[in-house]
């Protein structure tokens, strides 16, 4: 055994004032736990909004300028149109400020050979953010040129070979019901559509280099209406229609809820801090004799400061880690309850998000612990050794 270690003394000492130390640890557990729960709930809700928003599809759609365009509509929401735009429109739309994502789609034609006429739509898998989110089961890769995705009411199972305009396509996936024209549609890649056109297949409406619409995702911080205005202004050859504003609404609602929760946590912290300070100060007062004794054994002011500061940090770290761990477990166990309480769908945040939230909660608790431990540590270090010994005897 070598020299006595300060850590041994601190950790053994923590066993002494069990209830008091437990109270300090509980305070930090509560702080870290509430921070983590707030952060995770918000991340979960935002994740749900993001996913839901993706499933809701684009915020707006740009279609060829034509008086009948509205009534003809396009694809996922309405009926196919025979009007086309040059494919360069996609780049112009994507370059518009406030546009975060854009995906081109083209009405290829309607295959009358199927029991119910099959609307064939081409899309570019690399740009897609709408079809993918409608898939009944995760594809995990881009659609190939010899593959097709079938709407909910189109006959065909995954792995089947189906004929579209006389060409063989393998069914790679099926879409969830949308109650829109997508239910009766088949989706192929833009390259596959071009191949059909180049092969001179009969009955196609589309021509090479043409697209029917650009589906647009707007930057929520800019606002859908503003982005719609930008796209219309910068692309005079298109008509832009908003599709939904629900995502923005939920986002705003969540932002308010988030502010409310963080405010609650701030209040919790503000209430806890004086309590922690009081407990720490009591601890220093009760240990005056011990402080005096340590000083008589050669402990400097710096030693005493380090010991009391470290003790505060250890207690806080133990409390914060326990609180954060308990909060994480509770979140997983009671996700449904939280979801009902907040009246919003919660999606588990990514592992990275969770880790970041965990670290953030523990870090904030530790920063608070450092602040709270500072005063008692200073008090302990500045105590006159003789006074400490004398007053400790009383």
């Amino acid at each position: 055994m070598g020299r006595m270690k300060a850590n041994t003394v601190i950790l053994r000492g923590a066993k002494r004032r069990r209830f008091r130390n437990l109270a300090v640890m509980l305070c930090f557990a509560f702080i870290a736990g509430s921070l983590l729960v707030t952060g995770m709930l918000m991340a979960g809700a935002q994740s749900a909004v993001r996913t839901g928003s993706e499933r809701l599809g684009p915020d707006m759609i740009a279609v060829p300028m034509d008086p009948t365009a509205t009534s003809n509509g396009v694809f996922l929401i309405c009926q196919p149109s025979d009007l086309y735009l040059p494919s360069s429109t996609y780049d112009e739309v994507l370059g518009t400020p406030g546009v975060t994502q854009a995906a081109m789609q083209a009405y290829v034609g309607t295959d009358q050979a199927w029991p119910r006429p099959l609307i064939v739509i081409a899309y570019e898998p690399s740009q897609d953010f709408t079809i993918r989110s409608l898939l009944a089961s995760y594809l995990g890769r881009s659609l190939l040129d010899n593959e097709v995705l079938l709407g909910d009411s189109v006959y065909g199972s995954i792995g089947d070979t189906v004929s579209i305009f006389g060409q063989a396509f393998t069914v790679a996936g099926r879409l969830d019901p949308t109650s829109a024209s997508a239910d009766g549609s088949a989706f192929i890649t833009m390259d596959a559509a071009e191949r059909l056109v180049n092969d001179g297949v009969a009955g196609l409406s589309m021509q090479p280099g043409q697209i029917s619409a650009v589906l647009i995702k707007a930057d929520r911080s800019v606002g859908t209406d503003t982005v719609l205005h930008y796209v219309s202004a910068q692309n005079p050859n298109v008509l832009v229609f908003p599709l939904n504003n629900q995502g923005q609404g939920i986002s705003d609602q969540l932002s308010l809820a988030s502010q409310g929760l963080y405010l609650t946590v701030t209040v919790v912290i503000l209430v806890s801090l004086p309590l922690i300070l009081l407990i720490s100060a009591m601890s220093v007062n009760e240990r005056r004799r011990e402080i005096g004794l340590m000083r008589s054994m050669g402990a400097s002011q710096k030693d005493m400061f380090k010991m009391f500061f470290a003790e505060g940090i250890y207690l806080a770290a133990a409390g914060a880690l326990a609180g954060a761990a308990a909060a994480t477990i509770s979140l997983f166990l009671f996700q449904g309850t939280f979801s009902r309480l907040l009246q919003t769908e919660l999606v588990s945040p990514s592992m990275l998000d969770m880790t970041m939230q965990f670290l953030f909660a523990v870090l904030v608790a530790m920063l608070l612990a450092g602040t709270a431990a500072l005063w008692p540590a200073l008090k302990a270090s500045r105590m006159d050794p003789y006074d400490a010994i004398r007053s400790g005897q009383n």
Partner: protein
């Protein structure tokens, strides 16, 4: 060697200024066993704490082996306290969460001028004070006399040249008191300077020199040799 020069200690209270130590001029040579006797409140503990670098005098100088104790910064003063001085108080001051061996090793946490293994040294010291079978015992398992002996062993841990004891037998029965005093005599015979504060005049026979204190004023007394020394 410890020397004080016109050392004063005053306290400001609501009822006015109190002089705990009034122009103390004492000189303690290496290897002496000095007893400071006086009634409660005479200022003897204050003097001892000033000699031990525990409380700052209001004025005057304290020279320890030629070094002005109170001219040092906190780090240096702490180093002196840890390596040159050993303290024994009326309360044993063992930490309840550490066993006897660990308590005796405690001073090595802050400084250690002793080269031998701290655990071995602490064990030997505890054996010397008759606690060789209590190494793993915790303070609540020791008697008053055993606690005091453990505190004495702890004061010797860093092999200091001076032992400062403040009423070390204050709360002990007569037999244990003699036992503890014998121990201090043995320590003194090892060449260490012992400065002890007590209100018990009967202990004067154990010391080589007795200083008397009254109302903060120190005066020399004739010592009476005990039969056992």
């Amino acid at each position: 060697m410890i020397e004080t020069n016109e050392v004063m200690k005053t306290y400001e209270t609501l009822s006015g200024r109190i002089t705990a130590l009034d122009q103390a001029n004492i000189s303690i040579k290496d290897g002496e066993f000095v007893l400071i006797v006086g009634r409660s409140g005479s200022g003897k503990s204050t003097l001892l704490s000033i000699l031990g670098g525990l409380t700052r005098p209001s004025s005057g100088k304290v020279m320890l082996n030629g070094k002005d104790l109170w001219a040092m910064n906190d780090e240096d003063l702490s180093e002196v306290r840890g390596s040159e001085l050993g303290f024994v108080f009326q309360f044993p001051g063992l930490l309840p969460t550490l066993n006897t061996l660990e308590n005796v090793m405690l001073p090595t946490m802050f400084c250690s001028k002793v080269e031998e293994d701290p655990s071995e040294r602490a064990t030997i010291l505890l054996q010397t004070v008759g606690l060789g079978d209590k190494l793993d015992s915790f303070p609540n398992q020791l008697s008053g006399g055993e606690l005091k002996r453990a505190a004495i062993a702890r004061s010797l841990m860093n092999n200091p040249s001076i032992i400062l004891a403040d009423e070390p037998t204050g709360d002990l029965d007569v037999n244990t008191e003699k036992e503890i005093m014998d121990m201090f005599c043995r320590i003194n015979k090892l060449g260490k300077t012992v400065v002890m504060v007590t209100h018990n005049q009967d202990l004067a026979c154990f010391a080589s020199r007795v200083l008397s204190m009254e109302r903060g004023i120190v005066s020399e007394e004739e010592g009476q040799k005990c039969e056992r020394i």
